[in-house]
């Protein structure tokens, strides 16, 4: 049996376990995703979408259940191994761009490669320039990252998420802060990358019309999921 790209088995998450403020946010979630899938996650705010995304992205550990990435049980990995796996196979796009202000757009895109190698070199820069070109920011490549419009910043963030050629890109409300034109551009760009390189995209969005252009919509309600 070929390994699934991503498999969640009865994933649960409890915040502040054992304390009065204990909150059970995710309840025994089962989910399987394959390479090349382009998935929307929808649901009311506070339903646990970001929590789910953070667990898939190895930023957070589940309180119960198992998460497999390409057959690898991530519960068996220590922090350093998780960090490495995260760096290699997962790209993030957050709602508020989250670019590092001390660097230019191009440098922000280079960063994940520099983190991986330990130092920058010519190939990092060439690869980053290529991605900057692909997201249509050639002209502003050397501008400070936070001196750009929201749409441009989010395209930089997308280029950064793609620079390590991850199998999975996790986007938490990537267009939530953009006007509809920019939102459309960014979404189209993600779809294009998905078709060309079979990168699996998991996109949290409140935008029903964008979600409907995805292969699959997963509804999260009160920590339970419903496939559509």
């Amino acid at each position: 049996m070929a390994d699934h790209l991503l498999r969640l088995e009865r994933i649960g998450k409890v915040y502040h376990a054992g304390e009065p403020s204990q909150a059970e946010v995710l309840h025994a979630i089962d989910l399987t995703l394959e390479a090349g899938e382009f998935v929307a996650i929808m649901g009311p705010s506070g339903s646990g979408k970001s929590t789910l995304l953070n667990i898939i992205g190895l930023l957070d550990r589940p309180s119960s259940g198992k998460l497999f990435i390409q057959g690898q049980d991530t519960g068996q990995l220590d922090d350093a191994a998780l960090t490495r796996l995260r760096g290699e196979s997962i790209g993030f796009v957050f709602q508020y761009h989250h670019l590092i202000a001390a660097f230019t757009a191009l440098e922000n895109v280079m960063l994940p490669m520099v983190v991986d190698r330990g130092f920058p070199d010519l190939t990092c820069e060439a690869r980053a320039r290529d991605l900057i070109d692909r997201v249509g920011l050639t002209k502003v490549a050397d501008h400070p990252a936070t001196d750009m419009s929201g749409g441009q910043q989010q395209r930089v963030a997308l280029a950064r998420a793609l620079v390590m050629t991850p199998q999975i890109v996790l986007a938490d409300e990537p267009t939530g802060n953009l006007d509809s034109k920019s939102a459309d551009d960014v979404f189209a760009l993600m779809r294009e990358v998905n078709t060309k390189s079979r990168t699996c995209f998991i996109i949290v969005t409140h935008n029903r019309s964008l979600a409907e252009r995805c292969d699959r919509i997963i509804e999260v309600v009160d920590g339970h999921i419903r496939n559509t």
Partner: protein
């Protein structure tokens, strides 16, 4: 980004540059601390070397004298030799027994560089109507000048002693109205008498020494004092001047003599130096601590300010180790930058102070010693302090939960 430079360096420098006002303030703070340390250490080193030099060029490191002394060498608080002898009841000088064989044995000691026999006693210097009681020191110039740098104190004439010449202090010369080339009459209590030619005038920078100290050839003094072949002291110099006290003990253990080391006769000087050094160390410690806390405070704030960036870096695969190194590096860089600016400040202050601070006689208060070593040492120490100070903030940064950090 500079190719090949490690990630931690690139990010550390960018962060410091981005927060340049904070960086500037803490670097200035560190600089002031380092500047004070450099200034103080260099000045103390200068003062110490000055005093040490003065002590070591005006007296032997060990002086060997006859045992059971009633007669003793007196020293004034300024630690200049007065060379006054208190006469024993017998009215005789305390001569060292068998001094030739002691000299021979001492010269075989590996730590001993020179041994110089001298005889000294009170005599009368007479010129015309004027007469003065003086201390006549008979020396072997070849060895004695290596131990006590008499030629350095010659301000007129020359120090090349012959059997009928004499070196006298400028104050005595003034009192006797004598100049280089003039003759004076030397008379001892034993009625020994010689007419000697003044070949040089000495200025020890001390009035009583300039009044009383006179130097002649050993044989001349022996004959004036009627002590042919006798010596009252053996002056010894050493390779390792700080071994003087041990050596003095060794000499006393193996010969029937009293040996006094410069360390013992300058005990006051040593305890003063020791106290200075202790104070200096204490000040360094506290300056170091305040520098460390300053750097730590700035970095703790920076970790909080940058928690989002740290979260992003972690999300893109930055390891805890890399985050720790990133902050340690910032601490180290702040310490290092502060030490460079501080060294310049300290050295500048020292040069300035050196040019304005004068002794009462107009001479320099301390020699300008700017040892490279001090700067290297300070830079290394400041950098280490920065690294150490960054430890807690760095650990804190590494412990940040990326989820919480990104959520903001």
């Amino acid at each position: 980004m500079t190719y090949g430079l490690p990630l931690e360096w690139i990010v550390a420098v960018r962060f410091l540059y981005e927060g340049r006002l904070q960086t500037l303030f803490i670097v200035v703070g560190v600089s002031i601390g380092v500047g004070v340390i450099v200034f103080m250490s260099a000045m103390l080193a200068g003062l110490e070397s000055n005093i040490l030099k003065r002590v070591l060029t005006t007296q032997a490191q060990i002086q060997v004298i006859a045992p059971d002394q009633v007669a003793r060498i007196l020293r004034d608080p300024a630690r200049e030799i007065e060379d006054a002898t208190v006469q024993r009841p017998s009215q005789r000088l305390a001569l060292i027994d068998q001094w030739q064989s002691i000299v021979r044995l001492l010269r075989d000691e590996p730590n001993i560089t020179f041994v110089s026999p001298t005889i000294s006693g009170s005599v009368l210097a007479i010129r015309g109507e004027a007469s003065r009681s003086i201390t006549l020191v008979g020396i072997e110039p070849d060895t004695y000048f290596r131990i006590v740098k008499i030629p350095d104190y010659v301000v007129a004439g020359h120090p090349r002693l012959t059997s009928d010449s004499i070196l006298i202090g400028i104050e005595l010369a003034r009192e006797l109205g004598a100049r280089v080339g003039d003759k004076i009459n030397i008379t001892s209590a034993n009625d020994g008498q010689r007419v000697l030619t003044i070949i040089g005038l000495l200025d020890f920078g001390n009035k009583s020494a300039n009044q009383r100290s006179t130097y002649v050839a050993l044989r001349t003094a022996q004959s004036v004092m009627g002590m042919i072949g006798g010596v009252t002291s053996l002056d010894v110099s050493l390779h390792d001047i700080y071994a003087a006290e041990d050596m003095a003990q060794t000499i006393m253990a193996s010969h029937r003599v009293v040996a006094e080391s410069w360390i013992k006769t300058n005990a006051q000087f040593f305890s003063a130096i020791q106290a200075q050094k202790a104070t200096n160390t204490l000040i360094r410690l506290f300056v170091g601590l305040s520098v460390a806390f300053g750097i730590a405070a700035v970095l703790v704030v920076s970790v909080i300010q940058r928690s989002k960036e740290i979260g992003i870096l972690r999300a893109m695969g930055t390891t805890r180790g890399q985050i720790i190194r990133l902050f340690l590096l910032q601490g180290g860089l702040l310490g290092f930058a502060g030490s460079l600016v501080g060294a310049v400040l300290g050295a500048g202050g020292l040069v300035y102070w050196h040019s304005v601070a004068r002794q009462s006689d107009g001479g320099e208060l301390f020699p300008l010693v700017l040892e490279q070593q001090l700067f290297v040492y300070t830079a290394v120490l400041a950098t280490l302090t920065g690294l150490l100070a960054a430890m807690a903030p760095a650990l804190r940064a590494a412990k940040l939960d990326p989820v919480v950090a990104i959520r903001g």
